[in-house]
Symmetry: C2
Subunit: 451 residues, 2 copies
């Protein structure tokens, strides 16, 4: 409601902006009724210019221990409430920026304060669980009732992260692993890959790229920064990857007066995307994925039509690239839908979607096919293949193959060989899931002990 | 005390490890007296094998929404206390791994639980301050009484981060900016740099490198990963930078029996470091910095002598590379000193030092000369130079230079020109700091308004 009002009023004030210059017409919005935000203040209350004397003094002190040039002012977060940010000089400001869009339901929200003071939640901060190896007992339940309850359509998988940059970095890694696996055709690693990756060289570290857009902001760690192109000061002096950068549409407003021009502009950008994908494949810097913000935020709040995103997704499909939507700034409801990309109205809009900020944690959702199925025992198993139960895989050589068959037999499992070094499965037609699990557990133990 | 006991006992048990095989000698350590850790348990208490049935069930559930293969078992953190980790099956284990070294003073420490429940601390999590632009009023005070109180010698500057990877990523960026500034000789940016950085190309994104060691682990974001070389599974399928990797000494134990061999081994590694610095400079991939762990942890707990680190620091000095010590895993007291690199006994051991894990936050300390002095108004000011008060800088052209001198005069400051487009300072010998500040404030305002 508030957001619709804001959008409409802004559009209106821009079309009639001369009004703003006329003193008699300064109050262009209705006086708002006090509403349901009970912990909100009545309105702004200014006591000094901002930054005030206390902020200026603190800036000097901070500047002794770190460059404080970027600081706007210092805040009194204990006194900040709802939509109002209070600074250390007692100025109370209506905050339309909310820590670069990172405060979801207002400052010092009593429900959040209460929640975070509960011992089981404090516990998480004190005990610092290493989630990947030692998650808490309620991890699945918490993921289900929080993040998974707002999972975008088609994305059943969730990875949690501590910030937006790490979310994008790890989404990139997921894309690279998925792409390489697709290219390889199986999930084993070659000796050459295992060795070259340790010294940062191909084929272990393949020369893949992520296509991004001029004006994009996806974070400031080195991987993210290679896809960020909003301000020079973020990038200058930092080594980067030679990854393709396409132009993002520069639409003319009001949209209804420039329909044709804007269509042409979007077509131009999409054409460039395809050209870059082809060009970078030829350069042996294959585009494994495309990353895009539904609305370029840091880059200038640049929008594109739904049609643009449909076609962009189609290009990703056509060229076999993953399609990653960065909702770090747009996610969490602020565009009128929970995720901004839902506005596109596509059944299958994206392969991965990153989030942070308003979500109060970081992470990404993704489709099941992007699960990193890290190969186990790649030194023993390769070229896993099959149709139905007619399956097989290769071992390193005949001697190891024969040994494995022998050990399996002594553990109660009969397997067959074929070719020089393959092991084949030919079970009966009454072979069931539990028989498969039985085999996998026994064989996994055999490989773990294999010398 | 406990750590010294552990080290001594481990050394002892290794030298006499046959004892471990003799049933009669199983209790090689004294029964310990119940001590000061009042919230500790008495000892381990095992009820099932680990992972137990409840953990196995949760693994299956988690595996539906993310790859759960890395999970060891699920934990009951509410019941975990002190040195003991309790799992969801009720098994209580003496934890000598503590979330990969991330729990500083034991599970559920009452003092930490209390501290984090205080409204002013909960507030920080709820209000998510964007520290770089809107820090809380107590930010400086908190930094002083916490992180700065344990700052390594010679490092007066502190940058906070959310995790170890981000700490290393940003330490790298600080090094690259410092190195480029040094190479440039002034703090302005050229038009070409400002333009090329936006498309990931040199000279805006210079082709600098960070030298790391084989066996190192510095994190898993793309920048960090280019310096990580501990396990193939961390790196395989992920594009990387062509950065130099030196061998880390592989010492033979017991040290006293292999003095000469170990000295030779360390000399060999140091020689390779110098060779790589020279080689990569020739390849135009100049080594801007060297990163090293005081003890390689993830890579196998690989140690080197103090002498090795002295010489490594000297090589960094000799070749003008920054020397970055990664104390993410070794920091916080676990080596017997607060920072492991303090064991080296050097007056000036490092230029930057990263931390996380036991510190319960991330970040890095650095020397003052590594402050990123992001140029202000690079479009107006370049080639800033001078000796004493005999200073000058260039403007873009004669017309702008003359305009700036004129505007300054009307604001009450007399400046002189020289050359085609330079502005020069020739103040009297009674020119003091406050005059300089007076000028800088006025001139800064002029540049901010300059059209």
């Amino acid at each position: 409601m508030a957001s619709r009002l804001l959008t409409r009023q802004l559009a209106c004030s821009l079309q009639h902006n001369y009004r703003l210059l006329m003193p008699g017409a300064r109050h262009i919005s209705q006086a708002s009724a006090k509403v349901d935000v009970e912990f909100d203040y009545d309105g702004p209350l200014m006591k000094t210019e901002v930054p005030g004397p206390r902020s200026r003094e603190l800036m000097k002190q901070l500047n002794i221990i770190q460059n404080a040039e970027a600081v706007h002012f210092f805040c009194n977060y204990e006194e900040s409430r709802g939509n109002y940010l209070v600074d250390v000089d007692g100025n109370r400001m209506l905050d339309l920026y909310s820590q670069i869009s990172s405060v979801p339901i207002g400052y010092s929200h009593p429900a959040l304060m209460k929640l975070l003071q509960q011992p089981q939640n404090v516990n998480t901060f004190v005990n610092r669980p290493a989630l990947g190896i030692l998650p808490p007992g309620n991890f699945v339940e918490k993921l289900r009732e929080s993040l998974l309850s707002v999972a975008p359509k088609g994305m059943s998988q969730i990875i949690t992260m501590a910030c937006g940059s790490c979310s994008n970095e790890n989404a990139f890694k997921t894309i690279f692993m998925w792409y390489r696996n697709k290219e390889r055709g199986h999930s084993g690693f070659s000796k050459e890959e295992l060795e070259t990756c340790m010294i940062n060289q191909a084929p272990g570290c393949p020369d893949y790229s992520i296509l991004s857009f001029m004006g994009a902001f996806h974070g400031r760690t080195l991987g993210c920064l290679a896809t960020t192109h909003s301000k020079a000061i973020h990038k200058i002096d930092i080594p980067s990857f030679d990854w393709p950068i396409a132009p993002f549409p520069w639409l003319k407003y009001p949209l209804e007066d420039f329909v044709k021009e804007n269509q042409q502009e979007e077509a131009r950008c999409l054409e460039e995307v395809e050209d870059l994908i082809v060009k970078y494949r030829k350069k042996k810097k294959t585009v494994a994925g495309i990353i895009v913000e539904p609305i370029q935020s840091e880059g200038g709040d640049n929008h594109a039509s739904d049609d643009f995103f449909w076609k962009l997704r189609d290009i990703a499909r056509k060229h076999g690239c993953a399609f990653l939507v960065d909702e770090v700034q747009t996610g969490g409801g602020c565009t009128g839908k929970f995720w901004a990309h839902e506005h596109w109205g596509l059944d299958d809009p994206a392969d991965l979607m990153t989030f942070s900020k308003k979500m109060m944690t970081g992470g990404f959702f993704h489709k099941e096919e992007f699960r990193p199925n890290a190969a186990r025992y790649p030194q023993f198993i390769s070229r896993a293949r099959g149709r139905g139960t007619f399956c097989s895989f290769d071992t390193p050589d005949e001697s190891i193959r024969n040994k494995l068959i022998l050990i399996a037999r002594n553990k109660g499992v009969v397997l067959g060989g074929c070719g020089n070094k393959s092991i084949r499965f030919r079970p009966t037609m009454v072979f069931r899931d539990h028989h498969a699990h039985l085999f996998l557990n026994i064989f996994s133990d055999i490989l773990a002990d294999f010398k």
